[in-house]
């Protein structure tokens, strides 16, 4: 994996091209699943890229995908907040964006050693799932169906899809924790 240490003389622009541009497809796929709306997903990725560009000089080059996905999640929060500003009754009115800025997205990247080993453990954990769980993950996360689409495909209620899917992902996550690839600090 290319890191900033491998490229000590990288300009911010070159680092952006090296670390961010190759991840655009992945960011868009994840954004589509978070928004279920193509235009919103594209806006979200664009917002993520802007934030990444602003922060690239502080990025150490390790685990760019983890770094970018955390930025994407924070950008998603901020977009929801802008849509419903009345929900946040922060005494420091007008500082909601700085809340995001105080939380560095790099912490997660340090704790999630994303790379080939992460992918292998996910694939292995998926293969080990009972059929009824694996099938739901395949339909929703791999093929990109909605909960409803997966429910129709399987002939089960949407609630069943949700509970199987969530349990399946928890098992995958448990496997990642057991493998030491991610921190077990988060609750299940």
């Amino acid at each position: 994996m290319a890191t900033a240490q491998d490229h000590p003389a990288l300009t911010d622009e070159a680092a952006f091209e090296l670390y961010v541009l190759p991840e655009v497809d992945v960011l868009l796929r994840v954004a589509l699943s978070m928004t279920r709306n193509a235009a919103d997903a594209e806006d979200l990725v664009q917002d993520t890229m802007l934030r990444a560009f602003r922060g690239i000089s502080r990025f150490d080059g390790r685990y760019p995908r983890a770094w970018l996905l955390t930025i994407l999640r924070n950008a998603h929060v901020n977009r929801n907040r802008r849509r419903r500003p009345e929900l946040l009754r922060d005494a420091d009115a007008g500082t909601s964006t700085s809340i995001l800025e105080t939380q560095t997205p790099y912490d997660s990247a340090e704790e999630i050693a994303v790379g080939q080993s992460f992918d292998h453990v996910v694939e292995d954990a998926l293969a080990r799932l009972p059929d009824r769980y694996r099938r739901v993950v395949e339909l929703v996360d791999i093929e990109g169906l909605s909960y409803r689409g997966a429910a129709e495909s399987l002939g089960v209620p949407v609630g069943t899809v949700m509970s199987r899917l969530h349990r399946a992902r928890r098992r995958i996550r448990d496997q990642l924790v057991a493998s030491g690839i991610v921190s077990g600090g988060g609750r299940r």
Binding site: E13, A14, F16, E17, L21, V24, D25, V26, L28, R29, V30, S33, M34, T35, R36, V45, M49, L50, F53, R54, R65, A66, L69, T70, R73, H76, V77, N80, R83, R84, L87, L88, R89, D90, A91, D92, S98, I99, Q103, D107, S108, E111, I112, V114, F118, D119, V122, E123, D141, I142, E143, G144, Y147, H166, R169, R173, V182, G185, G186, R187
Partner: protein
């Protein structure tokens, strides 16, 4: 000063009765990341993930899992192309409006 502001906000978040508890967020986080929560719930879960490092980290792991599983699933080519062009412009010309 900035650190103090940060601490104050975090303290307020922990004492804010409107903030969802971690236990509730654990139940909702996958729905949130799948875009299946309503606007109000999305706002509350997102706020919690923003303020709570442990839940935020858990959400990031789920996002990573989704990113890995989505693999080679096709995405709209025109959208990818627009985003790449946008990124290349950023890399070439910097932030819009910046000197």
């Amino acid at each position: 000063m900035r650190a103090l502001r940060c601490l104050r906000r975090r303290h307020r978040a922990h004492t804010d009765s409107a903030m969802l508890a971690c236990e509730a967020v654990v139940e909702l986080v996958q729905l949130y990341l799948d875009g299946a929560t309503d606007d109000l719930t999305s706002e509350q879960v997102g706020y919690h993930l923003d303020m709570c490092r442990r839940c935020g980290l858990q959400a990031d792991v789920y996002l990573q899992i989704k990113a890995t599983l989505s693999g080679d699933r096709p995405v709209p080519d025109d959208a990818v192309e627009r985003l790449r062009r946008f990124g290349e412009q950023l890399a070439g010309q910097g932030l819009p409006g910046a000197p």
